[in-house]
């Protein structure tokens, strides 16, 4: 996969996972799941140290040979994870940021849909649309 996007519930189970698959879908799942280690660590760090960064954007979680994993956590402890191919050097940090912001906005609308049950997997055309847009843009 060249790029993948995932939304993870407060309790760390997947709410939404989508990737432009060029490699195995499964590997993407694993990548997102393992990245939660770092996310959790960063979240728990808040308030502990003085110089804790409390931005929602968590930045690059960890670099690996073939992809970069970025993280973002809402105040409701819902996590967004964006994974891009490490060969994809075109993406600047602030582009990633704006992707996350878009995701967050769209996610908030989903949360406000009275027919959506928070905690259920995300089934929303609007959200799908936003994500597809990003896939095209970055993929």
């Amino acid at each position: 996969w060249r790029v993948g996007i995932a939304v993870i519930a407060k309790e760390n189970y997947p709410l939404y996972i989508r990737s432009v698959a060029s490699q195995s879908e499964l590997k993407f799942h694993y990548t997102v799941h393992t990245s939660l280690d770092v996310v959790e660590e960063k979240i728990s760090a808040v308030g502990k140290s003085l110089g804790d960064q409390r931005e929602l954007y968590l930045g690059l979680l960890y670099p690996t040979e073939d992809y970069k994993v970025y993280g973002y956590v809402t105040n409701s402890k819902v996590k967004f994870v964006i994974v891009v191919d490490s060969s994809n050097t075109s993406l600047r940090d602030n582009e990633i940021r704006s992707m996350f912001r878009k995701l967050h906005n769209s996610f908030t609308d989903v949360m406000c849909n009275p027919f959506h049950n928070p905690g259920d997997p995300i089934q929303s055309k609007a959200f799908d649309g936003i994500v597809s847009g990003m896939m095209v843009q970055t993929g």
Binding site: G47, L56, V73, N75, S76, T108
Partner: protein
């Protein structure tokens, strides 16, 4: 734009709908209170999600509470909570000396028994907001003299 009016009309209509005209038994009333409360809960979840979009992550419980008293309350009722007190053991008392949803009930004893109906939704709002911010709680409210109102938040430690 008279922006609080639609909500107030809607709110009291919701109360009307759920509780009906006649005053039914305690058990029934209890169930209805829960119903309204859970509606508030869901709305609170949604609102807080929007409200905290730009704010940076919270430091701790107290930080969250302050946010509820300031920004959240302002968003709901265009005013802040007048007084926040805590025993530092997970109990917070939020006092609103002029609570919007009671202001139209004319003051005086005879309405005091009606008050709980009009507080349930807001209790739900607060509980929903908190739970979405990862703070499990029980929220109750009490009125001593209209339209002043105390909301008590009891944090559930898991």
């Amino acid at each position: 734009m008279a922006d609080e009016a639609p909500f107030q009309f809607l709110h009291s209509e919701v109360i009307q709908y759920v509780f009906g005209a006649s005053d039914s038994g305690d058990a029934e009333t209890g169930r209805n209170i829960t119903k309204v409360e859970s509606m508030g809960f869901r709305v609170g979840q949604g609102l807080i999600e929007r409200l905290t979009k730009e704010t940076s992550r919270f430091k701790d419980e107290l930080d969250v509470m302050k946010f509820i008293c300031k920004d959240f309350w302002t968003c709901l009722f265009k005013k802040q909570i007048d007084n926040l007190r805590t025993n530092h053991q997970g109990i917070y008392v939020l006092q609103d000396s002029k609570f919007q949803l009671l202001s139209h009930l004319s003051a005086g004893k005879q309405y005091l028994d009606q008050a709980p109906k009009y507080l349930a939704f807001t209790c739900g709002l607060v509980r929903g907001a908190l739970s979405n911010l990862g703070v499990k709680s029980i929220v109750t409210a009490e009125v001593s003299i209209m339209p002043a109102c105390k909301f008590q938040v009891m944090i559930q430690k898991i």
